[in-house]
């Protein structure tokens, strides 16, 4: 018995340390209006969801949720569409400058995002897109990592499939939609999950690209709440609301998260 339990000891200790902050978040969020006293406050004896009601009613939280869903959802769809079309051309076509172009994109991964932040900000302000959903989304669509992973995957699709479709008289557009795209389902799911995660958790770009509280996304909104003088329970309730959708996606699509990490690690 001891031999079987012993290896669990360090794993379980780290698991407790890992989960403890989440426990703190949830427990404090249901202690609305109660004075804080430890260790009592960490035991959920009185459960009161009032903080959630206050977070949702007392701020623009509803709009932040909508903005975040739009920012993440639209970005996922557009990145996947643009990246897969371009990746197909880079993977299976030879055209003038294709190699130079592709490696220029990949080299951009070495340029820190922060160097481009200020010009991007100036650009969208000059275009009059500051504080709009378009201004928030469009600059984030040029995703080199998505292009790279898509291309690596499409290279592995056998040329014979494409040739066979050609002999059957399929045009390029049809080949893309009926041959390439269905083969790409696993990579599309993996990338989709990651693009969703990046956008849902993105902070710096929405912080500079939005101005009015009604246009914030959840991360910026949560920060603004914390800077305002709302109670700890309300802040924690807002933190739970920000985290919950990501947790659900993770629980449903866990293997895609794992695959995405190991793929990026195997570059």
């Amino acid at each position: 018995m001891r031999r079987r339990l012993l290896p669990h000891l360090p794993l379980a200790l780290v698991a407790v340390a890992t989960v403890f902050p989440f426990y703190v978040m949830v427990v404090l969020s249901v202690q609305h209006g109660r004075p804080l006293s430890l260790p009592g406050s960490l035991l959920p004896i009185h459960i009161d969801f009032g903080a959630y009601a206050e977070a949702l009613a007392g701020s623009d939280m509803g709009r932040w949720i909508g903005n975040t869903v739009a920012y993440s959802g639209i970005s996922v769809v557009l990145v996947l569409v643009f990246a897969s079309i371009a990746a197909y051309a880079f993977a299976k076509k030879r055209f003038f400058g294709s190699k130079v172009l592709f490696w220029t994109f990949i080299a951009m991964l070495m340029v820190p995002y922060h160097l481009t932040l200020i010009p991007q900000f100036i650009l969208i302000s000059k275009l009059g897109l500051l504080d709009t959903m378009t201004g928030l989304i469009v600059p984030t669509l040029a995703n080199a990592q998505a292009l790279f992973l898509m291309r690596q995957f499409i290279i592995g699709i056998p040329d014979e499939l494409i040739e066979a479709a050609k002999i059957d008289g399929a045009g390029e557009v049809r080949i893309f939609f009926q041959i390439i795209l269905p083969q790409c389902k696993p990579i599309l799911a993996t990338l989709g999950v990651f693009v969703f995660l990046w956008h849902w958790n993105d902070f710096l770009w929405p912080l500079v690209a939005t101005r009015s509280p009604g246009n914030y996304v959840l991360t910026v909104g949560l920060y603004s709440l914390q800077a305002k003088d709302v109670s700890l329970a309300v802040t924690m309730a807002a933190a739970v609301i920000t985290f919950l959708p990501i947790l659900l996606v993770y629980l449903l699509l866990q293997r895609y998260f794992v695959r995405g990490v190991t793929m990026s690690g195997m570059k």
Partner: protein
């Protein structure tokens, strides 16, 4: 449909042509015309929102430009100002110290956890799934929680007071703030690095370890002589990733300390953000961006050189 058929070499060769095909016709036939159409949206997005801004960022570092003013060419003046600015040196120092604490800590914890998670015992998948939870949490959410954990009336200080060593000024003392932020950063990142290292560990053929065991190597020897050399590529990837991430630390500083106390967590990207979006001194902020780029480039090139030596 007609244009699609023409791009197809099989059908295109069947149509009779007397004149020599023009360049455009050749491109349509070998499919490179359609390829150009396919890459066009990405090329435009990249030119306008990545490559353009990257070049603009470098050029901006050579000018004086505030949001309301005109652009004035200043050459290297921004850099001269930067290197004479104690605030910049402070930011650079904060970033380097943070990196020196956070990166080794994260890598060692990740490696240890990968070793533990490589064993096939019951429930190991549940552990792995739990360790990954902080990775998917936004740094702002994590920051909100950890700020309370580190706060004066938070659980850490309650515990340390109970055993008679506390309360400790986790975020409010200049000496402790960077270790505190690093500790939190280990929590947010080890699950990711662990997965990469775990994939590397599981790819090592068991025979190596078994052969070493037959030769009488101790567990420690096997780790140093068999596991570690085999794990080198994955380990190296993780180290580079952590170095770059640490040099760009911003979100957790912004939400947890605001750069304080007394600028003791005022990092390089925080400096850039402050100059750019607080003082709207775009040229000066861009100069800091170029410095960050130079550091990232050195790390990346160093990585490529080591990789080449390896293979």
């Amino acid at each position: 449909m007609a244009t699609e058929l023409l791009t197809d070499p099989a059908t295109a060769s069947r149509t009779k042509r007397t004149a020599a095909p023009s360049r455009w016709q050749r491109m349509r036939r070998d499919g490179s015309a359609i390829a150009l159409v396919f890459v066009l949206p990405y090329v435009l997005l990249f030119l306008v929102f990545r490559i353009g801004p990257a070049i603009a960022g470098m050029l901006l570092s050579l000018v004086k430009y505030r949001i309301t003013g005109t652009i004035q060419w200043r050459g290297l003046e921004n850099f001269q100002r930067l290197f004479a600015d104690s605030l910049f040196w402070n930011a650079l120092q904060v970033t380097i110290v943070y990196t020196l604490i956070a990166v080794p800590l994260t890598v060692v914890v990740s490696l240890a956890m990968a070793q533990l998670c490589a064993r096939s015992i019951r429930g190991i998948k549940v552990y792995r799934a739990l360790y990954f939870l902080p990775v998917i949490t936004s740094l702002i959410t994590s920051g909100v929680i950890w700020q309370w954990i580190y706060s004066g009336d938070g659980p850490l200080n309650w515990f340390f007071s109970a055993i008679g060593v506390g309360p400790l000024p986790w975020l409010s003392s200049g000496a402790m703030v960077l270790p505190s932020l690093s500790l939190m950063s280990v929590w947010t990142r080890f699950g990711y690095d662990m997965l990469i290292l775990l994939a590397g560990l599981l790819a090592i053929p068991r025979e190596y370890s078994e052969a070493a065991m037959v030769d009488g190597a101790s567990a420690w020897d096997r780790f140093w002589r068999v596991t570690l050399p085999q794990l080198k590529p994955a380990l190296f990837f993780v180290v580079i990733l952590e170095l770059i991430q640490s040099f760009q630390v911003f979100d957790i500083v912004y939400v947890m300390t605001g750069g304080g106390p007394v600028r003791s967590s005022y990092s390089l990207v925080f400096f850039l953000y402050d100059q750019g979006f607080h003082y709207f001194d775009f040229g000066y902020a861009s100069a800091a961006g170029v410095v960050l780029f130079a550091i990232t480039l050195v790390v990346s090139l160093w990585q490529r050189r080591l990789f080449r030596e390896d293979s």
